[in-house]
Amino acid sequence: MCATCGCDANGTVTMHVPGQDNNQEHTHSHGEGHSHTHAKTIVDVEQDILQQNNLLAERNKGYFDAKNILALNLVSSPGSGKTTLLEKTLTDLKGELEFCVIEGDQQTTNDADRIHATGTKVTQINTGKGCHLDAHMVLHALQGMKPKNNSVLFIENVGNLVCPAMFDLGEKERVVIISVTEGDDKPLKYPDMFYTSTLCIINKTDLLPYVPFNIEKVKENALKINRNLTIIEVSCTTGEGLPAWYNWLKSKVLAPELA
């Protein structure tokens, strides 16, 4: 059982609050001679199905706020370049910003190994069959990694443009990455992800001469879904456009408040 969030693999949740009677059982005193009856009752629930995740996401958010950590949730299809973008960023901005990384993947630790090679603190979450990270997994990863105050935390989600859209991790910004090899109807096919993101990175622009990809069309489609979306074009291979991404990132890092 997890003492922090009360979770349990089997779903039987117990919470202990010091100084309180933890016995949740309430006894009913039934009158003598009660007969055996069956009754149907309607129980009003009115509960948001994502409530549990949203509550834990709020907790993560509070933790990030208290430590002035900028948390970013990176989402994309497999192979769009999330890990490559991180490797570049961690290397280029080393010494300027303090970083740590949570890597989400179904099976492997390949991406975590790549991040580790840059000298950055990294924790791997393997989701097994799970196709997305959730706030609960992130909460546990944070307990282990203890990110520093005023740092930037990158969370690389499982490669998938559908499932992670619904699960708030407590991040400040959600960054959706697409690459020019993916087809310009991507935003229309996966509107939820573009709707919930604040920044869209279009990667692999070095390949534009070789693939039919109408970058203006993609931007137009993405903005149809989310008028407030910022769009930055980059090539992790040539480095083109990366300064715009770095500037965006730095603009989001809040200076630590002076005591």
Partner: protein
């Protein structure tokens, strides 16, 4: 297949609801699912059948209230129904929209069988 996580959350919510009651069985569960909630119906159905086995919801009838998407245009100040997040305002063709309905994802109620034994 995030639908499986959604089904697991529903089971969790329903189980907690009846945990401290004398309910023996959930006969019916009423859900509210918006057209823009990101739930794919076929996947949901599949995940449901997988997920509810050996849970109090195993024999429960699912009643789903589908909520259609409604958006308001911030320029024209009118509301209209939408099917997709990229739909345009029918008056001005613009995309400055405010989603007002269709994101719902809720457990509304349960119909439970109570066995009064004393």
């Amino acid at each position: 297949m995030h639908e499986l996580s959604i089904v697991m959350s529903i089971i969790d919510i329903a189980t907690k609801q009846i945990e401290n009651s004398e309910a023996t069985e959930i006969e019916e569960i009423e859900l509210e699912i918006g057209a823009l909630s990101g739930i794919e119906e076929k996947s949901f159905e599949f995940a449901w059948n997988q997920g509810v086995k050996n849970t109090p919801l195993q024999n429960a009838v699912r009643k789903i209230n589908h909520i259609e998407g409604v958006a308001g245009c911030m320029d024209c100040m009118i509301d209209f129904s939408i099917k997709n997040l990229f739909d345009a305002c029918p008056i001005c063709g613009g995309h400055f929209l405010n989603i007002k309905k269709g994101k719902e994802l809720k457990v509304k109620s349960l119909l439970v069988n109570i066995n009064n034994k004393d």
